[in-house]
Symmetry: C2
């Protein structure tokens, strides 16, 4: 039985994702397909355009059988933390294949790169630490250290400066570290040769980044509807008619207020806040009139844009070092929240539930854990800020979506 | 030399205040009149309609010579804390008369009541504690204890169930406790016989409460302009044209967000948060769609409306027990911020500055104290929330207003 696992954000789900799922079906013909999907805040430290429930519906329409939520501490984490959380959940739920898109498109180079780093760990670490001590950001320090040990390598390596290659490498590494028997499978990303941000009007596939940029700038949805499945278009049309898209610019007044009302001590208690950066944040926020302006001012070469955005998500949700750090560092998810399922997914869940020590949470009223508390808090804040503040949607009362039935529940 | 002190909120300054100042001039003919005025958050736990700077201008137009800011910890404090802070500042700045409005209108009953409580302190305290142990709010417990010791008293006492009598009593008590030589003088409040909330269209005097209720409900300013001096009308017209009035309902989304993003531990660190109430606040906020709805749900007989509102101000400004409690309990202001002055006020300041250990803060850039930090934080939050979030007004750079000059600075 082939149980295929995918790590996804679906922000929004587009034709590129469908292409990946089609390739998966042709290559593996899985019995069940499981997606571990980020909630309302994403790995680059941004709110999702539309809520996790709307994105879950898209995933079910696209043929995913089970959608599980990647907990906040992993979803809004550095690439290695993100990968470890997602891979662990897929392993525990019984996935035996992990499918990911990459620029590279073949799996051997990932293993070669992994071996290379393992075999040259002391040299790699020495270079990494030296660069970071000079104020270089982690991703750039990693790239330089990797380049150094790669220079005399005869085997084919994966180009880790490509974003999807890098994330895929983190998955392969996480599988290795976890000692999982899950087999990683990579699908070559199909996309135009152009820059990620540009949109070819006739192409049926565009990057999620370019789609979001188009939508958040207020340009018409119909101009890019050829790049999206019909149900995504319908969901986005619905969002445009009601609450609009969630974005950092819309949430910015609340971030600004959160910073204005915080003491330095309080800021230092926020997850991923490093000594020193709190002064910059407080100095820059007073006169900043937009999120973009704010981050531009705070930015130094030490911090990547994504890292600052993640830090801002933690400020917005009030995620503290005390609550989040132990979970992100050592957290071994023994449970995951079920966001949606097809009938096939439901049958699969029933079959594994008897034997599994892993808890699938359907009703969060009946379950409490520190990890879930952070998810609920983040979701309540997102719902309130995204819904123009008049929503009374109760995150805690939301049941998993069911597909194949006449109506969604 | 008669230096008259007044404790004020001027929210907004109306004809009743002018009547008080006129009576003061006729009765005392003071050489200098000094107002200690609350900043942007007031004793009943509400944001002021318009900022402290606009209200300072009203005070100067009305003939006040010096306007000093009552620090946040006192301004948003229980009546006794509020009175102690204001009276201390007036004493330190050299005021030798304290003028306050009251329903009673004569000073002897205040002294009689003060003596009565002093002489019956053990019985009074026993009754107070017993009632509070039964869950009665402090003001009601105080009223019952006072009624008990007053029942056999032959002297004329002041009716402390009247709000202005009660506040006046706190001033007299604070003068006594401080050992100040300042002489309290009370002016009978001139107002209609009607309920505070009703507005007689023809009367030239109405309560500040009824004026605020009228304005915040969106009714036309011109309908009540006969109850306000022309400069108040002009300032309010200006506010209506630009940012509108600050109010709890406008600030509510930020209070709701602050609660949604706070843990119980964080809430318990907030000033005046008592163990137990944090659960009610978190339970009631989720589905509350307005400030009024929220407070109505949280309200019990143990907490007065004003006390809950003050608690909400502390949540909004992030005022912690750690920062605020020592100041409110033992804080002895050795400085006060100058908000505005007439030429006469400026001359008076020069005359006392040489000999005084009390610091008048004109440029807050040059002065730092824990008390002032709270004021600045509260003002920055108020400015941001009241100014429709596009203000770049820098509280820290605002100099005192000067009257008598061609233009305000």
């Amino acid at each position: 039985m082939i149980i295929a696992g995918i790590v996804a954000e679906y922000n929004p789900l587009h034709n590129g994702h469908l292409y990946q799922l089609d390739t998966l079906r042709k290559q593996l013909n899985p019995d069940v397909t499981i997606a571990v999907m980020s909630g309302n805040f994403l790995q680059r430290g941004e709110p999702s355009l539309v809520s996790k429930w709307i994105r879950t519906r898209m995933a079910l329409e696209a043929g995913i059988d089970l959608v599980l939520e990647l907990p906040y501490v992993f979803a809004v984490g550095k690439a290695d933390v993100f990968a470890r959380g997602a891979v662990t959940i897929l392993d525990r739920i019984g996935a035996n294949r992990l499918i990911f898109g990459s620029e590279c498109g073949r799996i051997e180079p990932f293993y070669n790169s992994l071996s290379l780093i393992h075999e040259n760990k002391p040299i790699y670490n020495a270079h990494l630490i030296e660069a970071m001590a000079q104020g270089v950001s982690y991703p750039n320090a990693h790239a330089a250290a990797y380049r150094f040990i790669a220079q005399n390598c005869k085997k084919e390596l994966v180009d880790l400066t490509q974003p999807n290659n890098n994330l895929g490498f983190q998955y392969v590494n996480a599988i290795d570290q976890l000692g999982s028997t899950m087999i990683p499978v990579t699908v070559r990303r199909k996309q135009t040769e152009h820059n990620d941000l540009s949109l070819d009007p006739d192409a049926s596939i565009a990057s999620a980044t370019s789609i979001r940029t188009h939508l958040l700038s207020g340009r018409p949805l119909k101009r890019i509807s050829n790049k999206l499945p019909v149900y995504t278009v319908a969901a986005l049309q619905d969002a445009e008619k009601t609450n609009g898209y969630a974005s950092w610019e819309r949430f910015f007044p609340f971030l600004k207020y959160a910073l204005l009302s915080s003491s330095k001590e309080r800021l230092l208690s926020i997850y991923e806040m490093e000594e020193g950066i709190e002064h910059r944040l407080l100095d820059c926020i007073r006169t900043a009139n937009s999120f973009h302006e704010f981050i531009s001012r705070v930015k130094t070469k030490r911090y990547t844009w994504a890292r600052l955005q993640r830090l801002c998500v933690h400020i917005l949700t009030g995620a503290s070092k005390h609550d989040a750090k132990p979970l992100a560092l050592y957290g071994d998810p023994d449970s995951a929240r079920l966001l949606g399922m097809s009938q096939k997914g439901q049958a699969y869940l029933s079959s594994i539930r008897k034997n599994s020590a892993f808890t699938i949470i359907s009703k969060i009223r009946n379950y409490r854990s520190p990890m879930l508390e952070l998810d609920i808090k983040a979701a309540q804040i997102y719902d309130y800020l995204a819904a123009n503040r008049n929503a009374t949607r109760t995150e805690t009362g939301h049941p998993p979506l069911r597909y194949d039935q006449k109506n969604y529940e």
